[in-house]
Amino acid sequence: MFSTIFKYELNYWFKQPTFYIFAAILFSISCFMAAATAGIFDSITASTGSANMINSPFGVHAMFSGMTIFMLFLLPSIIGASVYRDYKSEMHTILYSYPFTKGNYLMAKFLSSFLMVLIIVAFMGLGLIIGFRLPGTNADIITEFNAFAYIQTYLVYIIPNMFLFGSIVFGVVTFTRNIAAGFITVVLLLFVQGIAEGMIGEVDNRFIAGLLDPFGSEAIGYYTQYWTVAEKNDTLLPIGSLIIYNRILWMSIAVGFFTLVYKKFSFSQNAITFSFRKVKGERLIKHNFGGITRINLPKVRLDYSMKEQLKAAWRMSHADFKYIVRSWPFISILIVGLIFILLMAVTSGKLFGTSTYPVTWKMLLLPGGGFSLFINLLTFLYAGMLVHRSRIFNINQLIDTTAVKNWTLLLSKFIALIKMQVIMLLVIVIAGVLFQVYKGYYNFELDQYFYELYVLKLVHFVIWAMMALFIQSLVKNPYLGLFILLVISIGIQFVPFVGIEQAIFKYNDAPGYRYSDMNGYGGSERPYLVYKLYWLLSGGLLLILAGLFWVRGLPHSFKERFSIAGTRFKGITMVSFFGLMMAFFAVGGSIYYENNVTNERKSSKERELSQVTGEKKYKKYEHFLQPRIVDVNVSMDIFPKERNFEASGTYIMVNKTAQAIDTILLDHNNYPSTFKFDRENVLVSEDTVYNFDIYKLDKKLVPGDSITLSFTIKNKENTYMRKHSPVRSNGTFINSSIFPSLGYFGGGLTDDKIREKYDLPKNDLKPLPSDSTALGNTYIAKDADWINFEARVSTSEDQIAIAPGYLQSEVVKDGRRYFHYKMEDKILNFYAFNSGRYEVKRDTWKDVKLEIYYHKGHEYNLESMMDGMKASLAYNSENFSPYQHKQARIIEFPRTGGGFAQSFPNTIPFSEGVGFIADVEDDEAGGVDYGFAITVHEMAHQWWAHQVIGADVRGATMLSESLSEYVSLKVLEHEHGKSKMRKFLKKALDDYLMRRTVERKRESALAYNDGQGYIHYQKGSLVFYALSDYIGEETLNGALKKYVEKVKFQKPPYTTSLEMIEYITEVTPDSLQYVIQDMFETITLYKNRIVDAEVTELDNGKWQVDIEFNVSKYRNNEKGRRFYSDNKVDSLSYKTEKMRKPIYSVPMKDYIEIGVFGEDDSDDKNEVELYLKKLKITEINNKITLILDQKPLEVGVDPYNKLIDTDSNDNRRKL
């Protein structure tokens, strides 16, 4: 019987056009995606440059397995519907009386449809294979075809996943007889995957996440998370034990589920229903047979006017809305959505284990894309349900013969969908407020909740509802409609691949908006709303089309529907259609005009080409001799309400070279500006594209002579759609880059493969620090060394304006407030202006005045930031050199300007998002006080950047960023103790290892780094911290002090990383010189782990611990390829019988820390070190035996994660 049903089912599917439609759609999508990532559209859009081979086994897996998400949404209508079909056609009443076993029946049904799914998925794989190879793809990023990569993904991941999802969906649909329920099940499983994905932020959770992810991707990620680019390109996917566990776990769940389905299934004729209310049985008796009633219907008014139809639509929407909110799909998503948000609230938004106060904008960020996807899915699903509901329930003939208008019906469905969206959005408010209450935060800004959700967000979903109704009323099968809508909504994100970049061509696309406590939406909501108005108009058109194609009466052929639509297109429908169309084009046109005509808009292709021509045209000026700015006197008038600025200034520039200069190269921006030199000149070249002008002086500027440039600059007038100035109504932050500079300072394209295409030479970025001819400039400015600085800043009366320097005067005149600042000492040519309605907190450290300018309400961390300034001042001035200023100020600016702090001379603008609202827990287990840490770091820059500044060569940021981060770690260690450092170090290590995997060009050693954050912050801090541990903090700081003494405030040539390393080398003992080579000069990574540890209690009450541990290290080249040899000395290797592959290592004479830990007697059972010593290691495999007085609980090799180790979790083992 099995084979009969099985064959019959296959036959059925092969006859179904839907099968071919699905296969064709998915094949085309895969093919398109593969071709697009492989750069087939490079001629019309920006070049796809990448260091990654996109069809490496790693890439194939990510793409193939990612694409199958589409497939999941088809499962309900393929696998789910296999049994359901028999119910729907009421075949089951006959079929179930036939003589076959339920096992046969279920297996045949399931396996046949499962086979169909696998066939369709295979088509997707085929699409990928072909897509990568289509003519026109970029051969540089495609490697050889590797069939094994596809087969591995197909067999190990996709088939099990389809089996898992398929069997669950099969069960759910079979029992509920509701395809929508199967669909929701898919969404819920995706949600589980979302949780797993959310967990990987925390290093400790990754194993669990790897187990939990039903797709198995996080399990792969567990092994591949730190893979470098080279490893990703060359290596086959790993088969680790976690992957096997994951597969076994989920396969058992799938099999278990299928068994359950088998057990519970019976050939009964009713679907399982749930009811919470007990229904009492009642005997029903018929009476009142055959009575004759006189019919006297009350006279009522029948009104078919426009007004009444509108009211009717509103009333009828209640019924549809009720249907939605009572249905299981909606209820389950609602509940899951609520849980989702609360989970996100608990887990997300932490920095170094520290969360922030639950301010409203934070709460509004929680739902993120996940929840929006939920709402969209519900909208797509219920749009189909509502449109087709009357037909599904066979009530359409009753409804269609009433005199209700088509648009009234359509409108009622539309309103019901909006109501559903309103409820879903309400979930966000409820979850947000609940969480705020839970956290004891009672500043409920309901107005902000409602404005953002019901004005800004809702309109977005409403526009999708319009599209959904349109598609669903065209398509007969609501699940096909749903699938099409998913393809559209996801596909829109990929149209930039084919060169369509403007939002007005991408349905429902709009520029984003962001909120700050300081500045509100800051006008960012205006263009958003204009775009949304535009899309609402287009949605209106779609709704009219939906009305035209609305099926009334019996189903028609598509041809008939067209002719019916034609006859309906008249009168008011036609008028409103053309009216809407005109409005749509008017709004769209004005947006287009604003973006493309009034303002210049460059496509990414044009931007790429512009970079190329710019470089070809001006690169020759890179080393052109220029006078240097020695004196800056600027005036900046800020108009917060109008959001305008007007500035002027004078530079005094001196010819510090030995040659006469007759040409001035002026690099500026496109703000309306004027420039005037105090010396006769001719403007020989004015370039309004690159804003790069060349002046020829009539009289040469002889060495030592000076010239003055006066300039004015202001912003173009702001329009409703577009702001042309960086001024904010509160919290303005403008830095000196807005002013003109001298000389050519162009970076150019960095990707060498793309450069080759445009005949540009390889870009080696900056020169090496060993290049003594390249040390003439600091890495901050090319046109100045140290300058005198003076600034006059004005703003509105209610605001405070700040610039570096000491306040000379403050005057209020005509509703404006004027400030005059002057620097007493020389500073780098690097300054900024801030203005806002600030509260000020003041304090002093010795004779230094400390100030924090903060937004009212953000008082939480002012104390600790003040402490941070003091601690940093103390540490730096004690260890390195005195503080050069008499004041230090922190100024808060809106998070919309970025989430960073930046150190200008005695002035530190500090984002509201990175410390002001941190919710630091005081206890030991709590996270790192990052407001404090960042403050220390930024203060340290007053030394490490503003005293010691590196030359503009590779490795320069080591001198500023790595050192500031080192100071920050040291201060934290002194404040909070060593135990808290492990968390910080582990996080830094994880960030370093993670971010280097997505390096696009090259990773160099710390001393030669190209300025990547993950090298100079994360690796830099780890290196200096470890170094201070090896050679001692005092020794290291002593060397640094000498170094600072020599180089601070120096004139060119400027210092380099190599010079600092010389000072360090000098104080490092010979036995530890290898550390400098490992840490600064090469990329060296350890793989240390505890292999085995045993503890025995000795007779004398002491404890013996036997520890076996492995130590090995390897090096990476700049592409991330491993090597083990060191100056021709052979590498080490170690292999036991159990191991498949030997462990290799660079030869070692390394000192590695071994630790044994116990607990103290206190109630908290704090960890205590029983043993901690650096041992000299020369072999990979080591065994030691220790005798201890106290009971050991945990052992570790490099237990504090001071070294760069690719698996920091196996360094310790509990006994």
Partner: protein, 295 residues
């Protein structure tokens, strides 16, 4: 009030000609449409009820061009299809309110009054809070009548409403329909001759998409008075009898013999007795006359 149907034709995709140049005029009162399954009754009724469009032909009702101005007809139309479903989890009261809204009853109090009245007429008032989806066949059919009444229709079309109802329900249903139909045009299709006999003041017999006969039930039986004959025969003799006479119907008796009714102007033979003509006979005669002559 006059419904005029002219030259109505409809051929389905599968080649079935459901309406074949059909002409019909219907006035006020109950009009029965009698025909076997698949005769084109439902197609005709759905076409009048604006649910589908014919290939050719016109339909007018009270000056309304039904095929062009569907909305105007729908305002005065009450339609009960052969089978229909309802939305789940909605009580009769809720669902009727929904329908009243659909039918343009704008004021809330009007709707309440109206819904209460139709519930009482159809004797559903006591179960008004129960979900309609859980109603028995008869109750659901009464609900169908209830929704039909909501816009006080002038043209009522009911398609095989009594199929599957128990005798009591059937009676009740027909009574209500009769009551409703006094002042308007009711078109009522059935394949049960009894229904027509009891209710209709005019009737038509349809088969193969054509009107075979349009007449009043009384007139119909009168026409064939004295031409109907009946006799008892054994089962084995039936074939011979059928070959010889125009046998309209035959039915088993308890002793396994058959009673045969024959249509003939004169007494066929001595064993036949003259019998009162029934409407059934009219129906069978009409169908027989239309049947293609077998070669």
């Amino acid at each position: 009030m006059q419904l005029t149907i002219k030259n109505l034709s409809k051929t389905y995709k599968n080649g079935v000609r459901a309406l074949d140049n059909l002409n019909l005029e219907i006035g006020t009162g109950m009009f029965g449409l009698l025909g076997p399954n698949g005769a084109g009754k439902s197609t005709l009724m759905r076409t009048i009820a604006t649910l589908q469009s014919p290939d050719t032909g016109t339909i007018t009702f009270n000056g309304i061009d039904v095929l062009k101005d569907q909305m105007s007809l729908r305002k005065i139309l009450g339609y009960l299809p052969q089978s229909f479903g309802v939305y789940p989890k909605m009580s009769a009261e809720e669902l009727l309110d929904y329908f009243a809204t659909l039918k343009g009853v704008s004021s809330k109090s009007d709707r309440e009054k109206l819904v209460k009245e139709v519930l009482e007429i159809t004797n559903l008032y006591e179960v008004r809070k129960k979900y309609v989806a859980g109603y028995s066949g008869g109750m659901k059919q009464r609900f169908g009548i209830a929704q039909l009444l909501l816009n006080s229709p002038k043209l009522i079309i009911v398609d095989e409403p009594t199929a599957g109802l128990d005798p009591a329900e059937r009676h009740r249903f027909l009574n209500v329909l009769r009551e409703v139909g006094t002042n308007c045009t009711v078109i009522f299709s059935t394949h049960i001759v009894e229904d027509v006999k009891e209710l209709c003041n005019e009737m038509a017999i349809v088969n193969g998409g054509r009107i075979l006969k349009q007449i009043t039930p009384i007139q119909a039986t009168k026409e064939i008075e004295g031409q109907l004959w009946s006799c008892r025969v054994e089962r084995d003799d039936l074939d011979a009898l059928e070959a010889k006479y125009n046998v309209l119907s035959s039915s088993y008796n308890q002793d396994n013999s058959l009673t045969v009714r024959v249509y003939a102007t004169d007494q066929p033979s001595g064993q036949f007795k003259s019998v009162e003509p029934q409407l059934d006979d009219v129906y069978f005669i009409a169908l027989k006359q239309d049947a293609p002559v077998e070669a």
